[in-house]
Symmetry: C2
Subunit: 235 residues, 2 copies
């Protein structure tokens, strides 16, 4: 089956967690909104009055099925491409981990947009600085410390043991993103999360991911995405 | 099976979406942290080095299984108690809707805590006012308008048609919560969402929910929860 991924064309954003899963799986897919008339097609699907119109991108078209919400798309792809365990209880566990990644991603986003997404960063600089301080003092250590602890006791190189799941791919992206957005802070912080750094490197070295990262299918980080680099937020 | 629900004892919070599902299902459960030594038991499970320690409450113990993340718990309970469709594609759709509710709940929370959860509301009053404006101007209309549109075209009284799912229970809670937190704003807004108001009333009248809401198992809204009433944020 050829998948269609729908996501904003200029950014990695939340679509990236889906792209990484599709790429690792070697799945056949089109990144629709990056093509001609793609944005129009995407908007049309969101405005549909019938079927299952998604609230927001990313969403995935798989045959007749339209699936929205990043973690939900990964739940679907995970079972079909060996990126999640087969047993129900373990699949729920990976879904739970992905939902914790989702929460963290929202908090990363709010470091530069604590007041609202419809305003520019430049209009919320003060609150952004405060929220970023709070993020690095409280939230990043709490979330990353949690994943580090799980890695430490997983009994393998990956989050749930010896086999890679889509949650590992997402953690790779978290490390990449934090390095881009907060190079100084992250450099100082990485000594506290050796397991996550190792996981990052292990994922980056996987043949399909390695090829993807070098390809033009991988959009570069930029200041329209979730991970944004603003010098004044990086100390 | 007797379930154990673990959640902060003094608030409805995210635990409430799980409580509503358990109550509607007539499931046998204990709200552990509200009992003697319950908080200690909850913290101990979160600090576990083995198994599947949750990142945060709520989590549900179902036999040997420990399941965290609200939407994940509901995904599990939904299949077991007839609160979600049986077909895979439809179950994913309800999960997708619940994840959209999850996103909205986080945005409601951030109206009073835009800078950080470790600070008091009183220390972020200015940004809270700005974020609340943004919330009512952009976000609430977008989310609630989306659900209203789905209800309008569902072909039944519930979000996915003629049968109640856990996502309907969550929308009931959203309407309840917004009425508590923003009585004036919500009163003016409700004319734009007649379908959601009707859904709210329909859920409130279901025998198990009605009995629950009158019982002391239902914690009252308060200013430690997600939906908080601060006069200055309600205009």
């Amino acid at each position: 089956m050829k998948y269609e991924l729908y996501y904003w064309p200029g950014i990695q954003g939340r679509g990236e967690y889906v792209r990484l899963a599709l790429e690792e799986a070697g799945a056949d897919y089109t990144d629709v909104a990056r093509g001609e008339r793609g944005m129009a097609a995407m908007m049309k699907m969101m405005e549909a009055r019938r079927g299952a119109p998604p609230f927001a991108p990313p969403f995935l078209k798989a045959g007749k099925l339209v699936i929205g919400q990043t973690a939900n798309i990964l739940l679907y792809l995970g079972s079909r491409h060996g990126l999640a365990p087969k047993a129900d209880a373990r699949r729920l566990w990976v879904n739970q981990l992905q939902l914790t990644v989702t929460d963290f991603v929202a908090e990363v986003h709010d470091t530069h947009h604590p007041i609202g997404t419809s305003l520019y960063y430049e209009d919320q600089r003060g609150p952004a600085k405060q929220r970023t301080e709070e993020f690095w003092k409280e939230r990043a250590p709490k979330y990353l410390g949690y994943f580090e602890r799980l890695l430490d006791s997983s009994g393998g190189s990956y989050l749930t043991g010896r086999k890679l799941t889509y949650a590992d791919l997402s953690l790779f992206q978290i490390v990449e993103g934090l390095r881009y957005a907060f190079p100084k802070r992250m450099k100082a912080f990485e000594r506290r999360i050796p397991g996550l750094v190792d996981l990052h490197d292990r994922v980056a070295a996987r043949p399909n991911i390695k090829a993807y990262l070098k390809s033009d299918r991988r959009i570069a980080f930029n200041e329209d995405g979730i991970f944004r680099h603003y010098k004044e937020l990086d100390l």
